[in-house]
């Protein structure tokens, strides 16, 4: 007769039985299944993230199809198919039917999913709410057929249970398809599957994503590039970011024979000298077996590691989107809104917090069909995953609200909070460890280091916006002047001359007096031989001008450009080129041109023009050369600039006459006859 179990044993047994189900119930919210609408989105999100990660790891251009169909009220079927490398038969049950199982739980590189809870939680949710198995189809290239498995997650044991299994012919070389039936609700608009996929498409312009909605609507986000992002390298853990538990795990799992070797080879940033220092400060013998270091010794080692002077963690493991692709992604997805301005995206250099590298990227879009009377749209991303919930609690939103956008041309009540206007902000935080506010990974937690980088990146983007808006208002003002000199003045001169019976006088002096600017006009002319960007510099001022012209363009564009005439000098790293222009007489012009290979993606906004040798008030389409360029200007240019500055000061003192037409318009007497 077996011994009667003790009460403790009974309780323990009971506890195990309820563990997984109860874990799920208690954590529904942080797992993202706390309401029907969210459950559907989380399911889509987990499956798509897995699909993208799988394809990218195998250097395959991702192609993801999401099909959502309605079974009945509050019951939907979600099928997500990817073109990843497929999953080996023996791994399939664990990947989908076991919580906390994943290949990157201890991995040190940037990846979309981090905990390995995601897809199996969706399987569990589907099992619990519809009592239907998850149906997984997966094929690897080496095999001829695909495995089809029906999987339940055994809530008693946290183990997969395969209910049925089959081999089928699948008309694709490799890939994985997961089908789930779950209690859910489908919506459109904010926080919808559509919005999530749109965001995903923007930051993954190399992916092709198809969404089939319950009513049969098919939305395709075509890929905007066939270049895969450089794969994030897997790196060793850096000591600064280690916690006791993880150090213990690393020591135990280490195959190095000695502690010295463990420190030098299993960790990042530890030099030979640092190894000696660490051994000295922890007092541990260099020859100890790593697995033998336990308890108090482990704690001493960790303290020594945290206190040591080490090389900062490498940022190789980060996978930023990159300025070019942010622009391309935004253009690709927002193109039909015809925004007037895509700011050059800001990609901050990587920084480190704790032992983890991170970096911040910001994209800004303005005008066109974006709604003008609403708060700007904020697209938040962490490791290329759109964040749709908890916007108000997110460090990104906070950083946006702390920038005084009024200085940059957006409306903002009291200079704080999310600004209003026809704008859209894309903010991406990439890190091997993004500090989320909760396990649901919906909002980034406040962190002084990240906040600093966010603020700097946002301000840089905001400066681009301000430059754009001020150029636009100057252009509007200038377009009036161009209308006068090109259309009105010639006719006025013709009529006045006819009435007095004399020939029309030379209008050059009057034209230059009215305009009084040097105009720099950039055009983009694509043709079969390439993309030509001619730049016309016209001296619409009453005196001859000697000028130096500077161009700043993204370095990758400069590398492809050929100029006519050749510049006096270039700086490939900073993307700069400069010319001394021939002397320009009043109403005189000169043209220079940049040529790019066919289909180069280049537009007028890629060029920033700067001019030396003239007062700021007299340039249009360019800015005065900033002081921090640190270039040595030829003597003639310096003199010309001095003369221009004096002229500018003198011009400000001329007597203002009352403008008759402006006075009339403001008199408010239109109601009288």
């Amino acid at each position: 007769m077996p011994p009667t179990p003790t009460i403790a044993q009974q309780l323990a047994a009971k506890q195990r039985e309820i563990s997984v189900a109860e874990f799920f119930e208690r954590n529904r919210q942080i797992l993202g299944f706390d309401n029907l609408q969210r459950a559907l989105l989380t399911t889509v999100k987990e499956a798509v993230d897995n699909g993208l990660d799988a394809a990218e790891e195998a250097s395959i251009l991702p192609e993801i199809t999401v099909e959502i169909s309605k079974e009945r009220e509050d019951r939907f079927r979600v099928a997500v198919t990817d073109n990843g490398p497929g999953i080996l038969r023996k791994e399939i049950p664990n990947v989908f039917g076991k919580l906390l199982y994943g290949s990157r739980f201890h991995s040190h590189r940037q990846a979309r999913g981090q905990q390995g809870i995601g897809i199996s939680a969706a399987v569990l949710y589907a099992n619990l709410t519809t009592a239907r198995a998850a149906r997984v189809t997966s094929k690897v290239e080496e095999e001829d057929a695909a495995h089809v498995l029906e999987i339940f997650l055994d809530t008693q044991k946290n183990q997969p249970r395969v209910d049925s299994e089959d081999l089928v012919i699948w008309d694709r070389p490799h890939g994985t398809r997961i089908e789930l039936e779950l209690k859910a609700r489908y919506i459109r608009g904010r926080q919808s599957a559509f919005e999530y996929l749109r965001g995903t498409a923007i930051v993954n312009p190399h992916a092709r994503i198809v969404l089939v909605e319950p009513d049969g609507t098919r939305v395709t986000f075509e890929r905007a590039t066939t270049d895969l992002p450089p794969a994030a390298k897997e790196t060793l853990p850096h000591p600064y970011g280690l916690e006791l538990g993880e150090l213990g795990f690393l020591l135990k799992a280490s195959k190095r024979p000695t502690l010295s070797e463990f420190l030098a080879k299993d960790l990042q940033g530890v030099s030979a000298r640092a190894v000696r220092d660490l051994l000295a400060s922890s007092g541990l013998p260099p020859g100890s077996k790593p697995a033998a270091i336990q308890g108090e010794a482990q704690e001493r080692l960790l303290a020594a590691l945290h206190g040591a002077t080490l090389v900062n963690p490498s940022a190789d493991c980060l996978s930023p989107i990159g300025a070019m692709l942010i622009k391309r992604g935004l253009r690709n997805v927002l193109g039909e809104l015809k925004p007037e301005f895509f700011a050059p995206p800001v990609s901050r250099p990587p920084k480190v917090r704790g032992g983890f590298p991170f970096m911040v990227e910001v994209g800004l879009v303005y005008g066109g069909g974006l709604p003008a009377d609403q708060p700007v749209q904020i697209l938040r991303f962490a490791n290329r995953v759109p964040l749709l919930f908890q916007q108000g609690a997110c460090a990104i939103t906070n950083a946006i609200g702390n920038v005084d956008w009024r200085r940059y041309g957006l409306e903002q009540k009291g200079g704080t909070g999310v600004p209003s206007g026809p704008g859209l902000l894309l903010v991406h935080v990439a890190s091997t460890k993004v500090p989320f506010t909760s396990e649901a990974k919906e909002a980034i937690a406040e962190d002084p280091e990240i906040d600093k980088e966010l603020t700097l990146a946002l301000q840089a983007a905001a400066r681009h916006l301000r430059t754009h808006l001020s150029r636009k208002s100057r252009r509007d003002f200038a377009s009036d002047k161009f209308e006068i000199i090109q259309r009105i003045l010639p006719k006025l001169a013709e009529r006045a001359s006819r009435l007095v019976g004399k020939p029309v006088p030379d209008l050059t002096p009057v034209i230059t007096r009215i305009m009084d600017v040097v105009n720099v006009e950039t055009k983009v002319v694509p043709d079969s031989k390439g993309v030509r960007v001619p730049v016309e510099i016209t001296n619409y001022t009453p005196r001859p001008r000697i000028l130096e012209l500077f161009a700043e363009i993204p370095p990758e564009l400069l590398a492809q450009a050929t100029f006519d005439p050749a510049p006096d000098g270039t700086d490939a790293a900073l993307g700069r080129a400069w010319w001394t222009l021939p002397k320009l007489l009043p109403n005189g012009k000169t043209t220079l041109a940049a040529s790019f290979p066919p289909k180069t993606e280049v537009d007028g906004n890629d060029f920033d023009w700067y001019v030396a040798g003239i007062d700021e008030a007299h340039i249009l389409g360019a800015d005065p050369l900033p002081g921090d360029w640190d270039v040595r200007l030829p003597r003639t240019i310096v003199e010309a600039a001095e003369v221009a500055a004096q002229e500018g000061a003198a011009a400000g003192t001329t007597e203002e006459e009352v403008d008759y037409d402006a006075a009339e318009a403001s008199a408010g007497v239109r109601d009288e006859d």
Binding site: K481, A496, P505, P509, R513, Y660, D661, A667, R670, D673
Partner: protein, 379 residues
């Protein structure tokens, strides 16, 4: 878009058209010469004009009206608006010369549509074309009729025992009594009320009452106010047209009748009175010809609203702004008007003429007007 027309349609025969004097447009030739010389010297074309703003009104004691002061503004081709107005001036001059050659006249509205054919120089609104014609009046010291331009008939009406002779479109002279020879609508004023068109024959009336709203004119006529009190009723139709103001001025000058103005009690009605009695800002160059300095304001005044306990509305933000603007308007800078404007601001109330109907349909003619006219010494 209206069809482009090469020239204006004739509205009258040459015999009746105002004569264009040979030298009427001479100043425009001077302008062309000036602009040519500026261009030849490399200067930005510009011209100077007296500013028609309330700050540039100056009181002419001799005439008792407000005219343009000495402040000048510059219309310059440096700005798009200025450049366009300069160019349009020449188009308008060409058009006027064309009309003279063809013996035609045109309405202001027709001029606006004629400009459709002027390419860049076309007017964007009728306001713009009207302003330019006024500029020409100022520049050439002429009336727009001298340029063969006139407004559309706007039919301000007269009811009362006033006999006039009008030379009609067919050149026939009709003698009309504005009470006995007209229908309920009264005698409609033509746009031209000059002596060559209208002559006063005689009247038994003792005064003229100029009224803002048509409903009130009808009320007074129906109640027989004009006969009982020997009054001429003149409908202002809101802000009165030039012809209405000129007609009042002629009655005042030639028939020596007192003129009282009866409007709503709100800031806009004060402006109606100002343009009748003091001279309007836009036509300040013509004040000695259009304004009737002898005209007096009858009401509704701010104190009437209180004294007669009239149904009132709260002043809107716009109303308050208008009153505040009037406090800086030199025409209202008398102790009486300041007190009136400040009282209205203080009470925050405005009332319509018709609010007097609170006490019945006869109240205005039996009680209010006799009381007010007695106070004013008219009755």
């Amino acid at each position: 878009m209206p069809p482009k027309r090469a020239r204006a349609s004739a509205t009258k025969t040459e015999a009746d058209a105002p004569k264009i004097r040979a030298d009427a447009l001479t100043p425009t030739f001077d302008l062309a010469k000036q602009i040519y010389e500026q261009l030849d010297r490399g200067e930005i074309p510009r011209m100077r004009l007296p500013l028609r703003t309330k700050q540039n009104l100056s009181f002419q004691a001799r005439d008792g009206v407000w005219k343009l002061g000495k402040a000048m503004g510059t219309r310059s081709a440096r700005k798009l608006d200025g450049a366009l107005m300069l160019l349009r001036t020449f188009y308008v001059v060409d058009f006027i010369n064309e009309m003279a050659a063809d013996k035609k006249t045109s309405t202001l509205r027709e001029l606006y549509y004629i400009s459709e054919g002027w390419d860049d120089a076309k007017f964007h609104s009728e306001d713009e074309s009207n302003l330019l014609i006024e500029d020409l009046e100022v520049m050439c010291e002429r009336l727009r009729e001298d340029f063969r331009l006139h407004p559309e008939e706007n039919g301000a009406s007269v009811i009362g025992d006033l006999t006039i002779k009008e030379k009609n479109r067919k050149g026939l002279v009709k003698t009309i009594n504005c009470r006995d020879d007209v229908g309920d609508g009264g005698y409609a004023l033509p746009f031209n009320v000059e002596k060559e068109k209208i002559q006063f024959v005689g009247t038994n009336a003792k005064f003229v009452i100029a009224i803002e709203c048509g409903g009130m004119v009808d009320r007074l006529a129906e109640n027989g106010f004009d006969e009982k009190h020997k009054a001429i009723l003149l409908h202002l139709k809101g802000q009165p047209a030039r012809s209405t103001r000129r007609f009042l001025r002629r009655i005042s000058d030639e028939l020596k009748l007192p003129v009282v103005v009866f409007t709503d009690g709100d800031p806009w009605s004060f402006r109606i009175f100002a343009s009748v009695a003091f001279g309007a800002i836009k036509t300040a160059h013509l004040s000695s010809y259009l304004a009737t300095p002898a005209a007096e304001f009858l009401g509704v005044t701010a104190s009437d609203i209180e004294n007669y306990d009239l149904p009132s509305d709260k002043l809107s933000e716009q109303d308050v702004r208008a009153l505040e603007a009037e406090l800086t308007d030199p025409r209202f800078a008398t102790p009486e008007w300041r007190a009136e404007i400040e009282l209205m601001l203080k009470n925050g109330k405005k009332a319509e003429q018709q609010s007097l109907a609170k006490y019945g349909l006869n109240y205005v003619t039996d009680r209010y007007l006799p009381e007010k006219l007695t106070q004013m010494g008219v009755l």
